[in-house]
Symmetry: C2
Subunit: 191 residues, 2 copies
């Protein structure tokens, strides 16, 4: 019953997740990652096509975990308005974790070329997130669901952005109150 060491691939992904997120995909070189992972350089290129592939896998993992976090906060709720507010709870949880450093997709794509793996990952995440807000706003039967979704997205982005720019997690609480204000004042016909 010896605890088997994780595979080189898993250790690489774990090291990449830590270093890429904390210091940036452009700043951290593969030598740093293989050292942190305790893995031979050859194993990196055996498991991944190159650094870009590792970056893409890192971002895919972040995407998956973010969706899982939001799902965890929304499941069990029945009112779509509560679900929309729970999205901010998910953000608050993320921002409160030690080492929070902003949105991984925003950071990675900030200085990336169009069409790069970072830009593609950003678009994937943003597409899903926008659809989520629109779907919930529609379920909530707002007269203008896309308008409500747009407003919530601005508020959400402001919280995530401000939490990093000012190292100020309190922005999320401010954002959730704003979201509540929007959700309570926006017209709903089919109440």
């Amino acid at each position: 019953m010896t605890a088997t060491r994780p595979s080189a691939r898993d250790r690489l992904l774990q090291a990449a997740d830590r270093l890429f997120y904390a210091e940036g995909v452009h700043t951290v070189g593969i030598d740093r990652i293989i050292e942190e992972a305790g893995v031979a350089k050859g194993s990196l290129f055996y498991n991944f096509a190159g650094k870009d592939d590792l970056v893409a896998s890192y971002l895919a993992g972040r995407d998956e975990r973010r969706r899982a976090r939001i799902a965890r906060h929304t499941e069990g709720l029945t009112d779509p308005v509560d679900k929309l507010l729970a999205v901010f709870d998910a953000l608050q949880e993320a921002v409160g974790e030690p080492g929070y450093n902003g949105c991984a997709f925003a950071n990675a794509s900030a200085e990336a070329a169009p069409g790069s793996v970072e830009a593609v990952a950003l678009r994937t995440y943003r597409g899903w997130f926008g659809d989520l807000l629109l779907r919930l706003a529609t379920e909530a039967a707002y007269d203008d669901p896309s308008g409500v979704a747009d407003r919530l997205r601005v508020i959400y982005d402001g919280a995530a952005s401000g939490a990093r720019l000012d190292a100020q997690p309190a922005a999320v609480a401010v954002a959730k109150e704003l979201a509540r204000l929007v959700l309570e004042t926006a017209p709903r016909s089919a109440a």
Copy 2:
């Protein structure tokens, strides 16, 4: 009356502003910049202590122009509430310009080390911006000026962030409406 060519220093700053903003301070090397500026490499190190110094000067220029832009939109207005709304007009103008690529400070600092010139420039700008919102909210005699400023900052950041992440300038108009909602509903005693 031959139009004198700008100095090497000015051409370097102009090239840096264009390339650093469009492609990122980490992505663009000094060779790209001296090529674009049409300047000898020696002239770069004659006029600047190094790349970091050039980056700092680039960001200082962005900071100065952003303050000037906001000043231009707020001057002439007497009501501090109008001035707060005009801050969003300034953002709308910036976002509408061709080649808008998000907040230069947010982008440059996204993958920069703490204490780097990018991080320092970010803090300088954010400090000034936060003070501006708080000062105007105080002048407007809101009961909770810092609360109003916090909410406006979240909204402002969301617009700037979303405009880049989704290549969606319309986020600014959404944000200005949200700001108006906040400014009209927040309690003011000394009206």
